[in-house]
């Protein structure tokens, strides 16, 4: 039994925030006696990651994903509990530890803005003390895998959001880290780019055996990448297991939004009607029947527009939470 790459045991992070109410009287009161509130951002979670695993860390906004990730990267000091990454304690921030990890944050850049990305790469090369041969090899592989081509020589501010993200990811991986933390890497990207980045992560994991922890609130990210998912809600783990189990158990439905001229038509025959307003009817259909029902709707009714959606992650999570943790 190889030791886990990441080991978390009963990890908690509690913030103390001051309560502030509006109004002059309350403000005066606060001056004399500050009222505080304890927020349990992360509340006693435990799980392990084996080397080379890709695990999706799911949960709605504010669930505690980013807080957990920051504790693993050594950015936050836990309130209680145990956490080791590659056998080391992250918040000690030992240099040897930092050389083996990397952090990619969606919508936040580490690339220097006004100059081509290649120069930030060079900077990282010096910071991480990458040997020239290793650097060249890694750069070549990343360029190929991410299809960077000429992007590296254009100033970063001239790149599109998706191109920038690709370069950010490459910059983060130059030093060949064995632990990769991805915090919402596909947020704000178009569907094509999201798919490309997912494909890259899979390939990187396959080629280099890196352990990947990916946070997201997109179901699609997780479906594409992770066999195993960990779901966190209100700071607590509510699911840790195979993705297929999660999908089968909790996302058996799809949502179809049909735009007709009005709300007069009775669509009960097609599926469970969730709501109807301004001519937009929302139906909940068992997943297996979605294609068939869509066909029927298009054939039978004067459909102006039709949209098939996965239920939002919040709905899935709510159902997971409601059913209790395993």
């Amino acid at each position: 039994m190889t030791s886990p790459a990441i080991h978390i045991c009963d990890l908690s992070k509690v913030y103390v925030v001051s309560q502030q109410e509006a109004g002059a009287k309350a403000a005066l009161r606060d001056l004399v006696r500050r009222r505080t509130q304890k927020i349990r951002a992360v509340d006693g979670i435990s799980f392990d990651l084996a080397p080379g695993e890709i695990v999706g860390f799911l949960g709605p906004n504010g669930a505690g994903k980013t807080t957990t990730l920051k504790m693993l990267a050594g950015l936050l000091h836990p309130t209680s509990g145990e956490v080791t990454v590659l056998g080391r304690i992250p918040w000690k921030r030992e240099k040897a530890f930092l050389r083996q990890i990397t952090l990619v944050m969606g919508q936040r850049n580490q690339l220097v803005w006004d100059i081509p990305a290649i120069h930030t790469f060079e900077l990282n090369r010096v910071i991480y003390r990458i040997a020239p041969g290793d650097y060249r090899r890694m750069l070549g592989e990343l360029t190929e895998l991410l299809d960077l081509g000429t992007l590296l020589n254009k100033p970063v501010r001239n790149l599109s959001l998706g191109e920038r993200m690709k370069c950010e990811i490459a910059a983060a991986l130059l030093h060949h880290p064995s632990i990769v933390f991805l915090d919402e890497p596909t947020i704000g990207l178009d569907v094509t780019m999201q798919r490309r980045i997912r494909a890259f992560i899979t390939e990187y994991n396959r080629r280099f055996g890196a352990t990947v922890l990916l946070t997201s609130h997109y179901m699609a990210d997780v479906e594409a990448l992770c066999k195993r998912v960990v779901v966190i809600h209100h700071g607590r783990l509510v699911f840790d297991g195979d993705l297929s189990v999660l999908v089968k158990q909790f996302t058996e439905h799809k949502t179809i939004v049909v735009q007709l001229g009005d709300c007069d038509a009775d669509l009960k025959a097609y599926g469970e009607v969730v709501s109807c307003s301004d001519g937009l009817t929302t139906l909940r259909i068992p997943k297996a029947e979605a294609a068939h029902v869509t066909e029927r709707l298009l054939a039978d009714l004067p459909v102006i527009d039709l949209l098939i959606e996965d239920p939002p992650i919040e709905e899935v999570i709510e159902r997971v939470f409601a059913q209790g943790s395993p």
């Binding site: 000091h77 952090l103 006004d114 100059i115 120069h119 010096v126 910071i127 100033p155």
Partner: protein
């Protein structure tokens, strides 16, 4: 050793960043010359009415102007851009990237950005200083030059620590970047010998906002005014402030990562 390589790497990045905006060079040149013109103009006006200013001869005050631009350029080359970018990174969260790098975070944020074109001010300052020394006819021997450089370095470290302490406040307060602008206002007062000012102002410009260490004191080294007490005091203060600012920085980092209770 690795610190030098890092410094060189950041230097390269900064040069490239500035070269991306070549027009900046000409604008900076124009603005620097304008500042110099203003300083020299003010000097000319004052000294058309008197031969000495508080015991300082015109060319001694000229030397002071030279050091004012030299040290000012150094501050705006290295210290100011790094601190401003650091304060911004606390607000936007990009500080997290710096903290996951395997190098000392204080060092990284300090040299992160260099405003290369401030070299113009440094060169200009050296030119004015050199001219003043020639006109004074002082023989600047190896000893004096060494002491001068020591005072400039000590002054530089004092200013750096001062800025770092203020910038570290952004771990606790949000609108800290405004405080740094106060320094720039007060630095203006450094164009004149500190000895001119009334006691309370002199005290403020030495110990509260350490402008005196940046300008007057290094020039005193070249105009035979520097006392042993001042020299040792400056060096001691520089060392002490470096330690204090480092300690405060670490305290701030611990607060940022939620270490303290």
């Amino acid at each position: 050793m690795s610190y030098l390589r890092l410094l060189a790497a950041f230097f390269r990045v900064s040069i490239r960043t500035e070269l991306a905006y070549r027009v900046n060079f000409f604008v900076q040149l124009f603005q620097s010359l304008l500042s110099l013109g203003m300083a020299l103009g003010g000097l000319a006006v004052i000294f058309s009415f008197t031969d000495t200013l508080g015991g300082w001869r015109p060319d001694e005050v000229l030397a002071l102007v030279g050091v004012y631009f030299l040290v000012g350029g150094m501050i705006r080359l290295v210290i100011q851009p790094g601190m401003e970018e650091f304060i911004d990174s606390v607000r936007t969260g990009t500080l997290d990237f710096t903290l996951t790098k395997p190098e000392d975070a204080q060092f990284l944020i300090s040299i992160r950005r260099l405003q290369i074109w401030e070299l113009i001010d440094i060169v200009m300052g050296l030119g004015v200083l050199g001219t003043a020394l020639v006109r004074l006819g002082t023989n600047v021997g190896g000893g004096e030059a060494a002491v001068f450089i020591l005072m400039v370095v000590a002054g530089g470290f004092i200013i750096y620590s001062f800025w770092l302490i203020l910038a570290t406040l952004s771990f606790w307060f949000v609108r800290v970047e405004n405080i740094l602008v106060i320094f720039q206002s007060m630095y203006e007062a450094g164009r004149w010998p500190i000895s001119l000012y009334p006691g309370w102002l002199r005290y403020g410009l030495t110990f509260i906002v350490p402008v005196a260490f940046a300008t007057t004191i290094p020039v005193e080294a070249l105009t035979s005014r520097l006392t042993w007490e001042t020299l040792l005091g400056a060096v001691a203060l520089a060392a002490a402030l470096l330690l204090v600012s480092r300690g405060f920085w670490r305290l701030g980092l611990r607060r940022y990562s939620g270490t303290s209770a």
